[in-house]
C-alpha cells in the first residue's frame, strides 16, 4: 500500500521535475503501453485467452473518436467512450467466433480478425480515408477537445488511464469474477465441471478488455494527431500488449507495468545509442528477452521485484509464501 502511494506520488510529480520533452514522450509511451498491457492482461493473463489481435480494438477506438470528431464535431472525450462501446460490441461477434477455438488457434483467429479489420479500413476509402489516413485537425490548446499545448496534460491523461486500468484489475482480482477467470485460465473443462459458465465469463472479460484497449486507441491518435489503418491496427500493438504482460508477469496486477517500464526504457536507450535507422534491433532484443523469460522465468520478472520487496519489508507475522522457481 505504501509502495503504491510512493509510486503514485512519484508518477504525479514526474512532469514537474523532468522538463525534457523527449523524456516525457517516453514516459507517455510507457504509461500508454502499460495501460494496453493491463487491458490485455485481464483476458490474456487471468483467463489465459491469449489474444494476438487487440489492435482490432485499439484501432476501433481510434477510428470511432476520429470519425466522430472530423465528421460530426464530437469531442474526443465523448468519442473515447463511444469508441469503447463500439469495441465492446465488436468483441461479441469476434468472441463468438474465436472462443470456438482454444489455445494457439484462438491466438491465430484473433490475429485474423485484427487483419480483417485493417484490410476493411484500407479498402473503404470514402468511409474512413483509406490507406492515406488523415491528420487530426489541430484546434490549439483546447482541453474540451482533448488537445493541449505541451506534453504534461497528455502525460496525466495516460497516467489516469493506467490508474483506471489497475483499479479495475485490482477489483476484479478480488471478486468472484477474478476467481472464475483464473479457474477458466487454469483448466476450462474443470471450471465448467464445477459450474463456471466459461463462455459467459470469457465474453464478459473480453468486453472489458476491448473497451479499455479502445480508450488507448483514441488517446494515441489524439496524441500523435494522425491516423491510418497501418498505425491504428498495427500488429505491433497486439504483440506489445502481450509481450509487456508476459515479460513483467502474466496474470499479475503490476506485471504489465513492470514489463513496459523495462522494455520501453530499453528500447529508448537502444534508439538513442544506435539511432532509429537500424531497423530490427528493438524487436531482436524484445524477442530474445521474451525467449529468455519463457525458458527461465515463465512467471515473469515481477517475481524478482516481490522477492526483493519481501526482503526489504519482511512481514513479521505472516508465514513466508513459497514462490515458484
Amino acid at each position: 500500500m505504501i509502495a503504491v502511494a510512493v509510486l503514485a506520488a512519484a508518477a504525479i510529480a514526474l512532469p514537474l521535475v523532468v522538463a525534457n520533452r523527449f523524456a516525457i514522450d517516453i514516459a507517455i509511451r510507457v504509461l500508454l503501453f502499460a495501460f494496453i498491457g493491463v487491458a490485455w492482461n485481464l483476458m490474456g493473463g487471468y483467463a489465459k485467452q491469449l489474444s494476438l489481435g487487440h489492435a482490432a480494438y485499439f484501432g476501433l477506438g481510434a477510428y470511432t473518436s476520429t470519425i466522430l470528431l472530423i465528421r460530426f464535431d464530437v469531442s474526443p472525450w465523448l468519442g473515447m467512450l463511444a469508441g469503447g462501446v463500439v469495441a465492446m460490441l465488436a468483441s461479441l461477434p469476434i468472441g463468438a467466433l474465436c472462443f470456438r477455438l482454444r489455445g494457439p488457434y484462438f491466438a491465430i483467429a484473433t490475429i485474423a480478425t485484427a487483419q480483417v479489420m485493417m484490410l476493411l479500413f484500407l479498402k473503404f476509402r470514402d468511409f474512413a480515408w483509406g490507406a492515406e489516413g488523415t491528420t487530426i485537425p489541430n484546434l490549439g490548446d483546447d482541453p474540451l477537445m482533448m488537445q493541449f499545448d505541451g506534453k504534461a496534460a497528455y502525460y496525466y491523461i495516460a497516467l489516469a488511464l493506467l490508474a483506471v486500468g489497475l483499479f479495475i484489475t485490482h477489483r476484479i482480482e478480488r471478486s468472484w469474477m477474478g476467481y472464475y477467470l483464473v479457474a477458466v485460465g487454469e483448466d476450462e473443462d474443470a471450471a465448467e465441471a464445477i459450474g463456471v459458465n466459461a463462455l459467459r465469463i470469457k465474453r464478459q472479460i473480453y468486453m472489458i478488455s476491448a473497451f479499455l484497449t479502445a480508450l488507448a486507441g483514441t488517446f494515441y491518435v489524439q496524441y500523435i494527431y494522425f491516423i491510418d489503418p497501418n498505425t491504428a491496427f498495427s500488429f505491433n500493438i497486439s504483440v506489445e500488449a502481450a509481450l509487456v504482460s508476459i515479460v513483467g508477469g502474466i496474470g499479475t496486477l503490476w506485471g504489465p507495468v513492470l514489463g513496459t517500464v523495462l522494455l520501453e526504457t530499453l528500447s529508448a536507450f537502444l534508439q538513442s545509442w544506435l539511432g532509429s535507422g537500424l531497423g530490427g534491433v528493438q524487436l531482436t532484443v524484445y524477442s530474445l528477452i521474451l525467449m529468455a523469460v519463457i525458458l527461465w522465468r515463465p512467471a515473469g520478472l515481477i517475481g524478482f521485484v516481490s522477492d526483493a520487496w519481501k526482503r526489504l519489508a519482511p512481514a513479521p507475522a505472516a508465514p513466508v509464501e513459497a514462490r515458484d522457481g
Binding site: K48, L50, I111, G280
Partner: protein, 289 residues
C-alpha cells in the same frame, strides 16, 4: 469470362501447392508435438535466403538448391525441437505459443539487421518462361514448384504409412502416452517430425525463389495462409491441410481476379471466419487415415 475463370483457378492451384508445403509442416508439428509453430513462415524465408545466396554466390540453380536447403532445415528443425520446443512441452499454452512466436520475431529481425529489407530476386532462364494452352498461360517456374510440392507431399504420405518412423509419428499423434508404452521414443519422433516440417518449409523457400522475392517478412504471407489451411483442413490432418491449401490458393486467386487486387487476403480470412462459425472442427475428420 470462362478463360479468366480458368486462368484464375490455375494460378490459385499453382500457388496453393506452395501453401500446402507450409501448412503440411504446421499440421504435422501440431499433430505430433501438439505445438503450433508460429515461426514456420520464417523457415520458408530462411530457405529462400539460403537459395538466394547459393544462387548468387555459387551459381546453384534455386531448384537444385532444394537438395541443400531441405537437409539444412531438417537439421535446424531437430535443433529447434531439442533446444527450444522440448523445454516447453510440459508447460501451458502461454510458453508454448510465445516461444515459437518469439523465435519468429527473432528470425525476422535478425535477417532484417543482416540483409536489410531489400527484395532479393533470382533470375533463372525459366523465370519468364510460360506454357500456352490455348488462351491459358502457365508459368513454368510455378508449374515446377507445384509439381515438386505435390511430389514431396506424396513422399511424406508414403513415409507416414510405410516406414516404422512414419507409423511411430502417427501413433504419437493419435495417443502420445500409449505410443510411449509401445516403446516409441518421443524425443526422437518429435525431433524428426519438426525436422521434416522444417525441411518442407525449406523446400517451399527454394521452390519460390525463381519467381518470388525474398525479404525478411516474406514468411508472414505464407504462415497466415498455412494457419487458415490447417484450421480449414482440421488440425493435425495432413491430407486435409493439403486439400485446404489448394482450395485457399484458388479462393485467393478468385478474390484477386473478381473482387480486386487487394482482396485476396480478405477472401481467405472470411473463409477462416466462416469455417469457425459453421465447421469449427474443419472440413475433414481427425488424423489422416
Amino acid at each position: 469470362m470462362l478463360v479468366t475463370l480458368a486462368q484464375a483457378v490455375i494460378n490459385g492451384l499453382l500457388i496453393g501447392g506452395i501453401y500446402a508445403l507450409v501448412s503440411i509442416g504446421v499440421t504435422l508439428i501440431f499433430g505430433v508435438v501438439k505445438i503450433v509453430n508460429f515461426a514456420q513462415g520464417e523457415f520458408v524465408m530462411i530457405g529462400m535466403y539460403l537459395s538466394f545466396f547459393l544462387a548468387t554466390r555459387l551459381g546453384v540453380d534455386p531448384l537444385a538448391s532444394l537438395l541443400l536447403t531441405m537437409p539444412a532445415l531438417f537439421v535446424i528443425g531437430m535443433l529447434v525441437q531439442h533446444f527450444l520446443i522440448r523445454r516447453v512441452l510440459a508447460l501451458g499454452d502461454m510458453p508454448q505459443i510465445f516461444l515459437t512466436f518469439a523465435l519468429s520475431l527473432l528470425l525476422m529481425n535478425v535477417v532484417l539487421l543482416l540483409f536489410s529489407a531489400n527484395y532479393r530476386t533470382v533470375q533463372t532462364h525459366y523465370t519468364e518462361a510460360a506454357l500456352h494452352l490455348g488462351s491459358l498461360y502457365v508459368s513454368v517456374a510455378k508449374l515446377i514448384a507445384f509439381a515438386v510440392a505435390m511430389a514431396l507431399s506424396a513422399v511424406l504420405w508414403v513415409f507416414l504409412r510405410a516406414t516404422d518412423l512414419g507409423k511411430a509419428m502417427r501413433a504419437a499423434a493419435q495417443n502420445r502416452d500409449v505410443a510411449m508404452l509401445m516403446g516409441i521414443n518421443p524425443d526422437r519422433v518429435f525431433a524428426v517430425a519438426v525436422g521434416v516440417a522444417l525441411a518442407l518449409a525449406g523446400a517451399a523457400g527454394s521452390l519460390l525463389m525463381p519467381f518470388y522475392p525474398a525479404y525478411p517478412l516474406v514468411g508472414q504471407v505464407f504462415v497466415l495462409m498455412a494457419f487458415v489451411a490447417v484450421v480449414l483442413g482440421t488440425l493435425g490432418n495432413v491430407t486435409g491441410a493439403l486439400i485446404a491449401s489448394l482450395m485457399m490458393g484458388v479462393a485467393e486467386s478468385l478474390g484477386i481476379q473478381f473482387v480486386g487486387a487487394d482482396s485476396g487476403l480478405i477472401v481467405v480470412f472470411l473463409m477462416l471466419l466462416a469455417t469457425l462459425a459453421f465447421r469449427p472442427n474443419g472440413l475433414f475428420g481427425g488424423w489422416t487415415r
